[in-house]
């Protein structure tokens, strides 16, 4: 009976591997989460400052909830808000304050194409920057540059700050710190272009400063000290934070769900293999809870070391994920890594709870093992699913179909949110109804197998149908892997494809002026417009807007992509306006995509927050279809420019075939591209966004495949006796293996078909929602790779142990 021991060992090796992987994945998501919660941009220029006073970091709103108390929601402010310089006087009055500098920043391009940050010389003391040569600027045309710009003191240089390039005399250089250009405070304020305002009021102090007194002096403004000072310098980390929190939570959630499915399947299998042992225990006097307790204890014995090792490994895995995402620009530079034991502990606890939960569910079955079964020759599998499982499974199918209904009846974020619910509820339903699906697959696919191969095909069909519970445990992770991989990858590609298509279809420009640096000054569009042959030139400024958007019946604050578009936008872009006119977009107006318009129409008033957190009300002048290609909000150019970190434009759309090279040449870093090249640049950007989902698919997909392989190897290894019996009654080795191949084809085929069906339904719903047509963008190569990546290892895990068990030369005997 040593085979029994091995069998149990095999199951627990599988459970160990699955739990270890789950803990590692959950923990690494925890590392990302903790980093996101603690992350601040590095403090570079404000190193010597005691406190930094800036505009609001986030917008907040109370959103009504039907039958519930209002929910407080916040979104980060992505563009740098301004503060009035006048507030500096109140700060100076606070005891302990040595000085207050009204700090301004603006992009400066050198004639060599280097991009540095421009400030007043009074800001230099905040880091502090120290002169390595020369002297401070004293006149409006004097400048101190970082040595990294490569221009020594005493030379002349052409700098572009705000408008067109102008000559400056370099009076001195600073050695360390991020690249900077220092002008006289008056010149800097003029170049900054917002009289009476500053990016931040930076407080220096002699000793300890009363933070409370500072806050009281400037109500409504944010006072940052310590590491938080970095977020005033660079808002990228702050802005990325909620997205990374969401990402970490959703990957972690999928990892937990996967662990439940995989470990649940393994434990169900192991329990089934040990039905006779449990029945014997019951016969000699073990109560159902004693048997359940034994199973739970055994799970703990495996789970605790697995979760411990996985938890420790997760710290390394999380750090690796973080550095990969930084390296591929999926995270802003300066997004620091926070490592503490917390994620490892959380991963440990979550994994143990998940393992115990699955073991408990599997052990409930034990109560249905009647002690009588110990007396029988074989522990027959119960013929029917327990009622609770059937009912819960059907409920999840109904929930899924309901989500499908919602997603096809609506569009935009509501639809996208319901698509996520759709795939999850269908996968849970598959896990619950697995044995039923297995039986169905065995009936349908088995008929084909029996037709194709009368002897071994029929044997395979019989085996796949007889052990529906075992087949259910196997096909669920297969379906999960396929459904998850396909929806994750192809939802991304469907949206990217639609975005690309909308941007390309809606682009009426012949040429586009783009910038390699921080952007194009306002003069570029005007200069292009004056070129003979140009009929329209529209400056475009990308920004974001925060707006309450209805999702599944509830309003949530969301950060939406927005574009500030200048004159004659209607001539250079076609966002497919369905009502109103784009030409009316000026002053306090806005155009909305139909995805976010929800109830608003031309003439009504939209309430939202601009990029810098300014709350505005604007009259809707147009509703358009192409929200993916043009962003969900179109603003007048002046509005977008006034409420962004810089007033520079991202690109200029030009109608007309005139030669624009002289215009571009006047601005450092500017380039003219035709519309095809512009489209390609957009594609590259979208591919980069796809990287994160690729990482997610690789991590979760790898996990599921490990689960599938261990489950299958275990299930096949436990059938030594069955194979030996087949050989004894006269089946040849070849026939047994062929039967097993047919069985693999039937069971895996059912899993593949189920997974593909879930993915297809989900993707059709998604495509319907984002493009209005049921045409998801599915790459055949990627789809084939996913299918092969799941089916290949699964088939190998089923067939290889059987080959080893049925050794060629040995005569058959029962173990």
């Amino acid at each position: 009976m040593s085979a029994g021991g091995r069998r149990i060992g095999g199951a627990f090796a599988g459970v160990f591997a699955a739990l270890l992987f789950a803990a590692a994945l959950v923990g690494s998501c925890g590392v990302l989460l903790e980093s996101a919660l603690r992350a601040h941009a590095p403090v570079e220029r404000y190193g010597a400052a005691a406190a930094v006073v800036s505009g609001p970091e986030k917008v907040e709103d109370m959103l009504r909830r039907p039958g519930d108390s209002p929910e407080h929601q916040t979104r980060p402010v992505a563009e740098r808000p301004r503060v009035p310089v006048a507030a500096a006087a109140r700060l100076r009055a606070v005891p302990g304050v040595r000085g207050v500098v009204a700090d301004v920043s603006f992009p400066v391009l050198t004639s060599t194409g280097a991009s540095v940050s421009g400030h007043g010389w009074d800001s230099a003391a905040l880091r502090p920057y120290r002169l390595s040569a020369g002297r401070a600027p004293r006149a409006a045309d004097e400048v101190v540059l970082s040595e990294s710009a490569g221009i020594p003191a005493g030379k002349s240089v052409s700098l572009q700050a705000g408008g067109t390039p102008r000559p400056y005399r370099v009076t001195g250089t600073v050695a360390s710190g991020p690249g900077a250009a220092f002008f006289t405070p008056a010149a800097a304020a003029a170049l900054y272009g917002r009289p009476g305002m500053a990016d931040a009021l930076v407080v220096t102090a002699d000793g300890k400063l009363d933070e409370g007194a500072l806050r009281a002096a400037v109500p409504g403004l944010t006072v940052a000290t310590g590491a938080a000072r970095g977020d005033v310098e660079d808002r990228a980390v702050l802005a990325a934070r909620p997205d990374i929190v969401d990402l970490a939570l959703s990957i972690g959630g999928v990892a937990v769900m996967t662990a439940l499915v995989v470990v649940g399947g393994l434990i169900a299998l192991a329990t089934r293999e040990r039905a006779r042992e449990f029945a014997l225990l019951r016969a000699v006097g073990a109560t159902p809870w004693q048997v359940r307790g034994k199973l739970l204890r055994e799970t703990l014995w495996t789970g605790v070391p697995a979760a411990l090792v996985g938890g420790v490994l997760s710290l390394g895995l999380g750090a690796a994920m973080h550095s990969l995402m930084i390296g591929k620009d999926a995270l802003p530079h300066g997004f620091g890594l926070s490592l503490s034991p917390l994620p490892a502990l959380a991963a440990f606890a979550i994994t143990i709870v998940a393992a115990l939960l699955t073991a408990l569910v599997a052990s409930l079955r034990v109560s249905r093992i009647r002690p009588v079964e110990a007396l029988g020759e074989s522990a027959a599998e119960p013929a029917r699913l327990p009622r609770w499982r059937l009912v819960t499974g059907v409920v999840f199918v109904v929930v899924g179909l309901n989500a499908l209904g919602v997603s096809t009846a609506t569009s935009g974020p509501t639809a996208a949110a319901s698509v996520g619910g759709l795939v999850i509820s269908l996968i849970v339903a598959t896990a619950l109804l697995g044995p039923l699906l297995a039986r169905l697959g065995s009936r349908r696919l088995g008929r084909l197998a029996a037709l194709a191969s009368p002897v071994s095909g029929r044997l395979g069909r019989h085996a796949s149908g007889a052990a529906a519970l075992r087949a259910g445990s196997v096909l669920t992770p297969v379906a999960l892997a396929i459904a998850f991989g396909c929806t994750q990858l192809f939802a991304q590609s469907t949206i990217a494809h639609a975005t690309r298509g909308q941007a390309a279809d809606g682009n009426r420009a012949d040429q586009v002026i783009v910038s390699a640096g921080p952007g194009l000054p306002a003069g570029a569009a005007e200069a292009a417009r004056r070129v003979p042959g140009v009929t329209a030139a529209t400056p475009v400024k990308r920004t974001t807007v925060v707006m309450a958007v209805k999702e599944l019946g509830e309003k949530d604050l969301r950060t939406l992509n927005a574009q500030g578009v200048g004159a004659s936008a209607e001539a250079t872009m076609d966002p497919k306006v369905r009502s109103g006119r784009l030409a009316d977009l000026r002053g306090g107006t806005v155009a909305l995509s139909r995805d976010v318009a929800a109830g608003l129409h031309v003439g009504s008033t939209a309430r939202f927050w601009l990029g810098d957190g300014t709350r505005v009300q604007a009259r809707v002048v147009a509703i358009y279809d192409r929200g993916l290609g043009f962003g969900d909000v179109l603003l007048p150019h002046a509005t977008a420019a006034a409420h962004s970190t810089t007033a520079l434009d991202d690109h200029v759309l030009v109608r007309g075939k005139a030669d624009l090279r002289p215009v571009a040449a006047a601005y450092a870093g500017a380039r003219v591209v035709d519309r095809d090249a512009y489209g390609e640049a957009l594609s590259r950007e979208l591919r980069l966004q796809g990287l994160v989902s690729l990482i997610v698919v690789a991590a979760i997909g790898g996990f599921i495949v490990i689960g599938v392989v261990t489950t299958l190897a275990l299930a096949t290894g436990a059938r030594r006796r069955e194979f030996a019996l087949l050989r004894l009654v006269g089946a040849t080795r070849r026939q047994v293996l062929a039967a097993l191949r047919w069985e693999a084809a039937i069971v895996l085929g059912t899993g593949l078909l189920t997974g593909a069906a879930i993915a297809l339904v989900t993707l059709l719903a998604l495509a319907m929602a984002v493009t209005g047509a049921p045409l998801p963008a599915i790459s055949p190569v990627a789809a084939a790779a996913i299918l092969a990546g799941v089916a290949g290892p699964a088939a190998a895990a089923m067939l290889l142990p059987a080959r080893a068990m049925l050794r060629r030369r040995s005569s058959p005997r029962l173990p």
Binding site: V284, G285, T287, L375
Partner: protein, 243 residues
């Protein structure tokens, strides 16, 4: 009341109009019987006669579809699964035909398993005595896989006896053994009745085994069709052939 008390002391297990259905199949059809305390009863019948079902119901492993089963006066049909298990653990011992022992436990652990499940400490003297009685005193550290079939069955018997149960149910305990080993096991069963005063119910289709009993019940199509007291191998065989 007096009759009840008298019955409770004289009768170890009683079945009153017990019927058991498996779906459409009626395995037991209104069977009534009282097993006397300290008696050795064999139950015989051809395959499909319902003798295994009879044993499952009489021992409280299974619940009858109709009728009552009393073990020491307690109607087990009214008990929950857990209470029923406790009652079995305290009052009933089992010996099965095959797969009797937990492979990963040694002989002593297998013998003391019911005590361990009940949460009581095994009395070392009791364990040693039971092991000596079945002739396995020197095998306590062996695993089941290291024992012969007869030895394994004697371990199962020791496990059934260790809790001093009122009734021991044995289901074809000699079915997988050679005649000589079978005789050794049957002798041990007989001793449990004669020396320890235990009640024994033996389900078998082997006339040789049945001949060791005080009386033999014959089952056919879910009913008790005959009883034979002081059985002989010859008598049982001829009655068997007429079934």
């Amino acid at each position: 009341m007096t009759t009840m008390t008298a019955e409770a002391t004289a009768v170890a297990v009683s079945l009153e109009s017990v019927t058991k259905d498996y779906g459409d199949v009626r395995a037991l059809d209104g069977v009534s019987w009282a097993f006397p305390r300290g008696g050795f009863t064999a139950v015989m019948g051809p395959s499909g006669s319902g003798k295994s079902t009879f044993l499952h119901c009489a021992s409280g492993l299974d619940r009858p579809s109709a009728g009552a089963v009393r073990i020491g006066g307690t109607d087990i049909g009214r008990l929950s699964e857990t209470r029923r298990t406790r009652l079995r653990r305290e009052r009933i011992g089992f010996v099965f035909q095959a797969f009797n022992l937990i492979p990963s436990m040694d002989v002593e652990q297998n013998i003391t398993l019911p005590l361990q499940l009940a949460g009581t400490k095994a009395d070392p003297g009791r364990v040693a005595e039971v092991a000596r009685r079945v002739g396995l005193a020197d095998r306590l550290r062996h695993r089941p896989s290291e024992l012969s079939g007869g030895q394994q069955q004697r371990v199962a018997l020791a496990r059934a006896l260790v809790t001093r149960p009122e009734v021991v149910f044995a289901d074809e305990p000699t079915g997988a053994l050679d005649p000589r080993t079978a005789r050794d096991v049957l002798r041990l069963l007989r001793e449990a009745v004669d020396l320890a005063g235990q009640t024994l119910v033996l389900v078998t289709h082997d006339p040789m085994a049945a001949a060791w009993a005080d009386s033999v019940l014959f089952l056919s199509r879910g009913r008790i069709v005959d009883e034979m007291t002081s059985p002989t191998v010859q008598g049982v065989m001829s009655r068997w052939e007429s079934l």
